[in-house]
Subunit: 279 residues, 4 copies
Amino acid sequence: MTTPKSKYEVFREQTKIILYGTNTFWGRMFDLVLLGLILLSVILVMLDTVEGINNKYHSQLLICEWIITVFFSIEYILRIIAIQKPLRYVFSFYGIIDLLAILPMYMSIFFPATNILTIVRILRFLRLFKILHIPQISHQSFQLKEALQASKEKILVFIYFVIISAVIIGALMYVVEGRESGFTSIPVGIYWAIVTLTTVGYGDISPATPLGQFLASLVMIMGYGIIAVPTGIVTAEFAKSSLRSNAVSTKNTCKKCNAQVHFDSAKYCHECGTELQKT
Amino acid sequence: MTTPKSKYEVFREQTKIILYGTNTFWGRMFDLVLLGLILLSVILVMLDTVEGINNKYHSQLLICEWIITVFFSIEYILRIIAIQKPLRYVFSFYGIIDLLAILPMYMSIFFPATNILTIVRILRFLRLFKILHIPQISHQSFQLKEALQASKEKILVFIYFVIISAVIIGALMYVVEGRESGFTSIPVGIYWAIVTLTTVGYGDISPATPLGQFLASLVMIMGYGIIAVPTGIVTAEFAKSSLRSNAVSTKNTCKKCNAQVHFDSAKYCHECGTELQKT
Amino acid sequence: MTTPKSKYEVFREQTKIILYGTNTFWGRMFDLVLLGLILLSVILVMLDTVEGINNKYHSQLLICEWIITVFFSIEYILRIIAIQKPLRYVFSFYGIIDLLAILPMYMSIFFPATNILTIVRILRFLRLFKILHIPQISHQSFQLKEALQASKEKILVFIYFVIISAVIIGALMYVVEGRESGFTSIPVGIYWAIVTLTTVGYGDISPATPLGQFLASLVMIMGYGIIAVPTGIVTAEFAKSSLRSNAVSTKNTCKKCNAQVHFDSAKYCHECGTELQKT
Amino acid sequence: MTTPKSKYEVFREQTKIILYGTNTFWGRMFDLVLLGLILLSVILVMLDTVEGINNKYHSQLLICEWIITVFFSIEYILRIIAIQKPLRYVFSFYGIIDLLAILPMYMSIFFPATNILTIVRILRFLRLFKILHIPQISHQSFQLKEALQASKEKILVFIYFVIISAVIIGALMYVVEGRESGFTSIPVGIYWAIVTLTTVGYGDISPATPLGQFLASLVMIMGYGIIAVPTGIVTAEFAKSSLRSNAVSTKNTCKKCNAQVHFDSAKYCHECGTELQKT
């Protein structure tokens, strides 16, 4: 009944299994080679910016880059051909990254400096966990993502207050310290305030007058409390989500006494001894 | 029966709706324009302190500043006129900020440098959430505020001990390192101690002698434990408040005594012993 | 029956009330004056190390210091006389601090530079909370102390591992970077490792070779996880102690159904509705 | 019946008790001497790298090092002789460290600079807690280890994202800032990104252009949230493990099925439903 598949269809199917699948030997093989090439390509771009290496091996590096780019281009085209709904892939997160990974190289023919943008290929590496397929890791990733998602709004509110504080502090330090100490303008003062509040503290700009140092000390002690806030937010979310997902849960409500909190592994209610019915 | 409103009264009412309200189209519009002007004004003040820009565009920037200031002044007067109890507004938090936002510009006629103080206009931005009116955000702000409120006293006690430690450490390092390494006086030593304990670490002053570096190492390791304290305090409060809003909830309001906060698992009201009806 | 008190005894009693007590008007007054003098004295010592001030006002500052020292000495002697068990006071924590607060000044007659040690007077300030007597604050202090006490051992173990890591890292960086980058010896390398692991990062010594920068990056990323540990320890203790002391407790075990966890304010058991008997 | 032990066997047994045991007087004594020698040896290696000391005392230090090395060598051989299964010791964690502690010194006969590697002797110090044998400490170590173990995967996922971010940020800053500000290549840019994200902030490389400073500010504020993540992970694990060892305890071992971990409040075993007998 089923019409025999054309050669092209068989080729498309095979390609799809290799490019998108991770279960077959060749599918897995391809993914590993791909990861290797991405890594190699990123390292090549990085090395090309190191002066000593650039002077000696620039042309060799460029040739390698072009070879990898051509390989990625073919892969990109095959990915479009192989899949049923090519547009969905093209506009998906990974589809856009795959395009961004080859585009800068072709652009560099016309605009010489843009080949440095090929560094975005590192984003293709986000596929790593999908490829490695370790359930442990993906569970943990999920928990991480969930906790950050839940604390997103609180952190936004917090950053909003930090920025307002930074503007005020920056302007104050600009007035107090002035150009001699490196506070050449209010934006620079704000930059200093952020460097200080986040406890990064480069020291490229630092207060030199007694009053400036006194104010800076206040800002730092304030920064103490401030750095505690995002940590507190994220930690509370983690604690909540890990309590929820581990050890103790409220899924096995006892049918007899309605006690709700039990160990996930509990078989009998710890309140009345009735057997629990898992749901 | 009701006396027809005078033109002035209608004007006052309309003004009030536009200035204070956020529900009508014009009220919302006005708020957005206001936020835009505040932002613009703050950016203008900041740019005016950048040397390159100041030299070229100082007079243009100044004119813009004056236009915005006049607008803010009219708005301030209208706010006083429109409201029933003008004094309450004048001495409220936002009232004072609104005044502070226009005052420095007028002062700068007499004292040239004071126009930089117009940067306090950024504080008018604190209205943002009130205007945007996102329930999610205001709930989160409330939780943030509550957690910080609850940890206020502990953090004060903590800062008090940090300051005493900083004085002792600062004096010690002044004695050990001396003027050659930049520890020119005890206050400078204290400044260094705070820079170190908060892990900011500018490096404008750093120990140079072996003994000084050894002591600094001890201080830094001590600082490890110390930075953990405010984080611990705030986190514990967050965890508590988020646990409270979880395992403990306000869903099962008691029908008899109206007590709202119960364990999610509570069957009887813990205030009056009445059986709770789950919803 | 009671023998009339001698004049000396009355004087002793009066002195005791003023020096040790905080309930009477004069007792409180004395404490406040004392705190003021301590603060003044500490500020004087600090100012005396600032070059500009030292040159101009050294003798005036010295006279003030001596007056305060004599006052403290009299106070110290009176404290010994007034109390029943003088030895217990002398060897108590505050007794030793009180002695340390006056000793350096007398020592400075023979050893000129030692008067800087009078800065330890700041420790007398630890009495502040005892004097102010705010129950809220002392409750919080207690909680802080308890949480730190409980995490003491874990933090010791942790610091022990940090120091071993710092030694290994320091030696490694000394070998990799060498004298040119400022890693002049292994102890200096260890100093750098501690500066980096604690995220202080002065930048007085920083890796200059590519390999050194690579290793430093690894150390910093490791430091990420490491700084999380003391915070985690302290936070967990805080969370535990604040859960224990607040809101929910296990004090009011239900006599009928033995449910243990209730709100502190609960009057009826939330499991069976029986009235709770506070203990 | 038992054949009399040969002199060699008695010697082996005695040696074993002294070298491996910590209960007998001589066993304990030996351990303390060993710790002392390790510490001394590490300090000697460190001092030998300090220029001033190296010039004057190099030969003396070297002789001491050799004496300690010979002592350690004899100890190592005796440890192999004394134990029943020498291979298990040789390839155990401590066995390898013990070998590494003596090897570099012998290697330095042929390769002069390698004697610095004797610093790995510090690892022998990891035995400290085993020797001191404080149950409190070893319990805490266990909890620390367990919490870090549990958060291992989450932290790996996290570091993976941090590295990808650092690559992108580093490349971006290289493009924006360029060689003038010290961003001489993308690897250097990545190094800077890690220095900034971890809030170490040496300041050896720091942005100089307004755009660079703006981007750096964004990175730092991002770093805020980022540093919260490992702390959150570790803290949540600590909180969980300390909650588990509290509200949940191992006091009520089930008499029937030997299940050990129950809620403190459990009345019936959650494994087999048998009533628990409180102790």
